[in-house]
């Protein structure tokens, strides 16, 4: 019963904030609505037995990533209204039409597509059991470091790529004269650190 | 490695092209001489083909078969029969003359000769390929050198003409490529590109129709049949002399050759069905080409349209389904190559002297350049089919063949000959008779030694074929007979739509 009530709240908040993002004229407002959505989703994760995920959703997403967003928005001072001219004639109605079709498809599949018994039996109950013993974090860790070992390692490479990339980009910001050849990787850049921070 | 004279003749020009590439580009006369020597060498090699060729047998001779891409059933397979024999010889015969006709090319001569020699390999290869992959390779390989020859050394509207030529031909040949692929997979479990293995591939009638049209698209553009001919006047007019010569004398024949070598034998049922259509197009071509030629002001354009008319004759002969028609059509391919080639060379000689192609700019030349006038008249007479000259033999055979096959179609065809007499003689009269329009015409120099050397072999052959065509017909007829038979065979399988695929 609690799940139904909380889900109702989550549903309204998540969907409402997402819609509000669409209509927010101000980038800061949009970012804040996104934060609201993410917090609502964290609640949904809790409802569905994903405690660990719910926690990192708040910490990484709402915490690190969105802070970075807001930081950049503030830095650029884009707290102003967007021009409402259509970028490409008909792009807006086209996008909305496409969205409507996609939404219809999604809903139809959501209600038609999963009728077959996934996994059989009381699958959700099994997850509850897992979360009791050995507990959600341990269960996630076990799967993550066994079955998903390779993807886990792959993410580390990806993060290195992102860090190297940001270093390159950051060096392009300070550049004033073309003759100033970058002095190699030893020259640490301030902007490289958010890359590390967000992933930590 | 069992290579024949044929393979040597195909690749000798490439060796020549490499030799030309080595010569420093400043050294114009050496470039010319190397190119000339290479083409003459090739011609001598091709005489070896003539020696080795046995008259009276219909099949392919001097065949070479090498494995190339066994994974896809592609082989290097060459060989010739009575049809391709004369096409190959026509090519190798005209090539040294085309090089001689290129003396006026002084700008970027090195690239010019390389392209010209590459073109020769492509043309010879087309006529001797017995593997569809190889054939397509050579077929397209003629396209690029010709494109550059027109585009780089042509006249004012050369870029337009080169683009048009390339794109028209490419669309056609790409459709043919799709057709070749379809045929390739239709052949059975062991797909192959080999020509003789593909003959008689059973196909449903509607598949045959589509495939015939795909091949026909490619060849009809090349021939060209009205209404696909519009690239031809531009390309012929804008090309440099040697380009026009090779284009008219050989490249157009590739289309007619493709029709009888591939389109008809592969899809005889569809071909039979479409004979009336093709013949109608041929007749339209004869009349249309002649009528349009009548009103041309540009000498090269006039000859270009005369080609449309002549090729109409050739295709007519090939599709009437009689031995005379087929042999006449094949012989006429040679004849047209000789006479039209010579006409283009003469116009090129005129252009070199006066830098204009307009008929109105000339007049009264017979007095200043009597030899040239004489040769021009002679070649024109050959082209319009005067008895005792080569054109007569071919056209007469075509008309006889048409008469046996489709009696009433002879009338428009014969009318075409009359028109040819009118436009050619009228053009001759306007250019060489009357009062010289300008001082330049009065002071024009007659044919020099080089030009005489280049025209004399053609003149000799024109007379030879006109008087004594037997050596030619002896070799053509067995193959022609077989081609006529192929039109009468059937390879249709009942049922099975094309939609299901092979």
């Amino acid at each position: 019963m609690i799940e139904i009530i909380v889900f109702g709240v989550v549903f309204v908040v998540a969907l409402g904030s997402s819609l509000a993002m669409l209509f927010a004229k101000n980038a800061v407002h949009a970012a804040l609505f996104l934060v609201a959505t993410q917090i609502a989703l964290a609640l949904a994760f809790l409802l569905e037995g994903g405690q660990f995920i719910a926690a990192i959703q708040i910490i990484v997403y709402a915490g690190a990533i969105m802070v970075l967003f807001l930081f950049v928005i503030m830095l650029l001072g884009v707290d102003k209204k967007e021009p409402l001219i259509e970028p490409l004639t008909g792009q807006r109605p086209l996008a909305i039409g496409l969205g409507a079709v996609l939404a219809a498809e999604m809903l139809w599949v959501a209600w038609r597509g999963i009728e077959f018994a996934a996994g059989g039996g009381d699958a959700a109950g099994r997850l509850v059991d897992t979360n009791q013993d050995p507990g959600n974090v341990l269960a996630v860790a076990r799967v993550l470091f066994s079955k998903y070992l390779l993807p886990f390692e792959a993410t580390s490479v990806m993060l290195v790529v992102a860090i190297v990339g940001v270093m390159v980009l950051a060096r392009r910001m300070g550049m004033t004269t073309p003759g100033e050849v970058a002095a190699g990787a030893g020259e640490e850049s301030d902007l490289a650190s958010p890359g590390g921070g967000a992933t930590g | 490695m069992d290579l024949s004279w044929l393979d040597a003749a195909i690749f000798a020009p490439l060796v020549g092209a490499v030799a030309v590439a080595i010569v420093p580009s400043r050294n114009l006369s050496t470039l010319r001489l190397v190119a000339l020597a290479s083409t003459i060498m090739t011609f001598l090699l091709s005489l070896g083909i003539l020696v080795d060729f046995e008259a009276g047998t219909p099949g392919f001779q001097l065949t070479t078969s090498l494995s190339w891409i066994p994974e896809w059933g592609v082989g290097y397979k060459t060989g010739i029969d009575g049809v391709s024999l004369w096409m190959v010889l026509l090519t190798t015969f005209l090539m040294p003359l085309a090089v001689l006709a290129s003396w006026s090319i002084t700008r970027r001569a090195k690239a010019y000769f390389i392209f010209l020699l590459a073109l020769q390999t492509g043309m010879t290869g087309v006529f001797s390929s017995l593997d569809m992959f190889l054939f397509y390779l050579f077929w397209e390989a003629t396209l690029i050198p010709m494109y550059f020859l027109i585009g780089m050394w042509g006249y004012d509207r050369r870029i337009y003409a080169a683009m048009k030529f390339f794109l028209f031909t490419l669309v056609g040949s790409l459709l043919m490529l799709a057709g070749i692929l379809f045929l390739y997979f239709a052949a059975g479990d062991n797909p192959t590109f080999e020509y003789q293995a593909l003959l008689g591939t059973p196909l449903a009638l509607d598949a045959q129709r589509l495939l015939f049209l795909a091949f026909f698209a490619s060849f009809a553009v090349k021939v060209p049949l009205v209404p696909l001919h519009t690239w031809l006047p531009d390309a012929h007019t804008e090309a440099p002399t040697a380009g026009s010569v090779m284009l008219a004398a050989v490249l157009l024949k590739m289309g007619a050759y493709g029709l009888i070598r591939f389109a008809i034998p592969f899809f005889p049922d569809a071909a039979r069905e479409l004979v009336p259509l093709v013949m109608t197009l041929a007749i339209i071509g004869i009349l249309y080409g002649a009528l349009v030629a009548l009103v041309q002001k540009d000498l090269k354009r006039l000859i270009a349209y005369s080609s449309v008319a002549h090729l109409g004759f050739i295709v007519l002969g090939m599709f009437v389904g009689t031995l005379q028609g087929m042999s006449g059509g094949i012989l006429q391919m040679v004849n047209h190559g000789l006479s039209t080639g010579a006409l283009f060379m003469l116009v090129g000689a005129l252009y070199d002297r006066r830098h204009t192609r307009l008929i109105a700019d000339y007049g009264g030349l017979a007095r200043s350049v009597p030899i040239m006038a004489g040769v021009f008249l002679f070649v024109a007479l050959s082209s319009l089919g005067l008895p005792a000259l080569n054109g007569f033999v071919g056209e007469f055979l075509v008309l006889v063949g048409t008469f046996f096959g489709y009696r009433w179609w002879v009338i428009p065809a014969a009318f075409g000959i009359v028109l040819a007499a009118i436009y050619l003689l009228w053009a001759y009269q306007r250019v060489f008779h009357g009062e010289p329009a300008t001082e330049a015409n009065r002071a024009m120099a007659d044919l020099n030694v080089r030009e005489l050397v280049m025209l004399a072999p053609i003149v000799a052959l024109i007379i030879f074929i006109g008087v004594y065509p037997k050596p030619f017909l002896d070799r053509i007829e067995p193959s022609a007979e077989r081609l006529v038979q192929q039109l009468k065979q059937s390879s249709v399988v009942p049922g099975g739509g094309v939609a299901e695929g092979p």
Partner: protein, 495 residues
């Protein structure tokens, strides 16, 4: 529930590891040594890494295995793609060396990012699990976003990087949602069954219409959309012209060759191997995309005035041609597509090498009018570009022709002759713009008073020579390559 650590078998990812190590070594060594000793050794390190990676990929030829808990497929299909990628990477590094020293850009990061990108692309080709595929895709995409913005002080380049990035992230989200739905449908993201009772996408797809497929079909559609962005298929191509134009030419060549083969490798594996039983569901979508891609790519290329932009549209059109092979979904289709991608990659890297040299320092000369009379100023480069363009147009004697032949052949074998007719007509349209370049280079005179660009270094010229040679060789003696492509089979359980 005890943890079962997977057997650590590294054969499947050895090339990726080698590349990662090489990239890190390059970064660290350069960071330690700085610019004190010049940077001549960096391209050698990168070359070494790529050669080792290629060799490590080759030695597992004919091994048929799943490794690391079924995350990596060790099959000839992956090997073929990996070797091609190693070659593209090598050419890019060599070309990049020339470009970077000319434009005085930092080298170590460039090589490192290229190596990382190659590693990501290789992983994508070998991925036997959708999540690995996704991570690999993100790895090389991130590297490419940065590489596109690599030019210094070029707002144009940076804007194109942003556009590439935004659309790339957008498409990733589609891909990811597709993965989520596939996971929902099957309960795993794995493509192959690792054990007798394990579930996999393949097993599910093979079960046929008895199961409810709606979820999977939608997932499939979203995955196709996501990968469609990477291979630059219409209507997901909007980033391509800008990114290709804005990126440094070596990077553009690398994107066109590597990104395409990696994206297609994933697409082919998912569609032609895993979801083959569902081909009647995905074929209409892929056919539609293929037709649109061929036609739009060819038609829009005709009106371009910038050579790089034109080559971008040409690369879009080529994606359409490869899709024809994907649609065929037979053995010849797979091998033909691989052949196409490998030879197209070499040709396109070569064309961008020429473009890079002719564009001069700062890459200012890429407009069509800048190529006027190029043949008379740089005959060999112009000749090579001619060869590449003819190959792209599919003219015989070049590898491009054979590539079209095998792909179209596969489609005809599957009965899609009408798709082939559309394809050949599109390539005829496409020929028009290649001819335009030839016209400008050969049939127009150079502009008076404009100095030709300085000639490229020996490395860049070497890249041009190598790619030109392969373009000819694979056009005439294409037997060995098509043979290898035909042996590039997918992993088969128990096979």
């Amino acid at each position: 529930m005890e943890m079962d650590i997977p057997r650590i078998e590294l054969a499947g990812i050895a090339p990726e590891i080698a590349l990662t190590v090489a990239a890190l070594v390059i970064l660290v060594v350069h960071a330690v040594l700085g610019n004190r000793f010049s940077t001549w050794y960096l391209p050698y390190l990168a070359t070494l890494g790529l050669v080792v990676a290629g060799a490590l990929a080759v030695i597992v030829w004919d091994v048929n295995d799943l490794q690391l808990s079924g995350m990596i497929a060790l099959d000839n299909f992956a090997t073929f793609v990996k070797v091609s990628l190693a070659v593209f990477g090598l050419l890019t590094v060599w070309l990049g060396r020339d470009y970077l020293t000319r434009d005085r850009l930092e080298e170590s990061e460039f090589y490192a990012l290229v190596l990382f990108a190659v590693a990501g692309m290789m992983l994508m080709a070998a991925a036997a699990d959708l999540i690995v595929m996704f991570l690999a895709l993100e790895t090389f995409s991130i590297a490419l976003y940065v590489l596109v913005a690599f030019k210094r002080r070029s707002t144009e380049a940076q804007e194109s990087a942003m556009k590439y990035f935004l659309l790339g992230a957008f498409s990733s989200a589609f891909f990811l949602f597709g993965i989520a739905l596939a996971y929902g449908a099957v309960g795993t993201t794995n493509l192959y069954s690792t054990g007798p009772e394990a579930d996999s996408l393949f097993r599910f797809a093979s079960a046929g219409p008895s199961t409810d497929l709606d979820l999977l079909v939608l997932a499939m559609g979203l995955i196709i959309v996501g990968l469609g962005f990477k291979i630059a298929a219409v209507p997901f191509h909007a980033w391509t012209p800008d990114a290709y134009q804005g990126a440094p030419s070596p990077v553009t060549g690398f994107m066109a060759a590597g990104s395409k083969i990696a994206g297609f490798a994933a697409l082919i594996r998912v569609l032609d191997a895993i979801l083959f039983p569902l081909r009647w569901d995905w074929r209409p979508l892929v056919i539609g995309i293929a037709v649109l891609t061929m036609i739009v790519g060819s038609v829009l290329a005709v009106v371009q005035e910038d050579v790089k932009r034109m080559l971008a549209y040409s690369s879009i059109a080529h994606a359409g041609f490869v899709l024809v092979g994907v649609v065929a979904a037979n053995d010849r289709g797979v091998s033909g597509s691989l052949f196409y991608l490998a030879t197209y990659g070499l040709t396109v890297v070569g064309s961008f090498a020429v473009v890079s040299i002719l564009a001069g320092p700062g890459e200012h000369r890429t407009r069509l009018t800048d190529y006027r009379g190029a043949f008379y100023q740089r005959p060999l480069l112009a000749g090579a570009l001619t060869l590449f363009l003819l190959a792209l147009a599919g003219v015989p004697v070049t590898s491009g022709f054979v590539a079209k032949l095998v792909v179209f052949g596969a489609a005809i074998e599957s009965g899609y002759w009408w798709l082939v007719v559309i394809g050949v007509l599109a390539s005829a349209i496409a020929a028009f713009f290649y001819l335009r370049v030839l016209v400008v280079m050969y049939m127009q005179e150079p502009i008076e008073g404009v100095e030709p660009a300085p000639s490229g270094g020996w490395l860049a010229n070497g890249v041009v020579a190598i790619t030109a040679a392969t373009t000819i060789v694979f056009g005439l003696a294409w037997g060995p390559l098509i043979d290898a492509a035909e042996h590039a089979r997918f992993f088969v359980a128990g096979g």
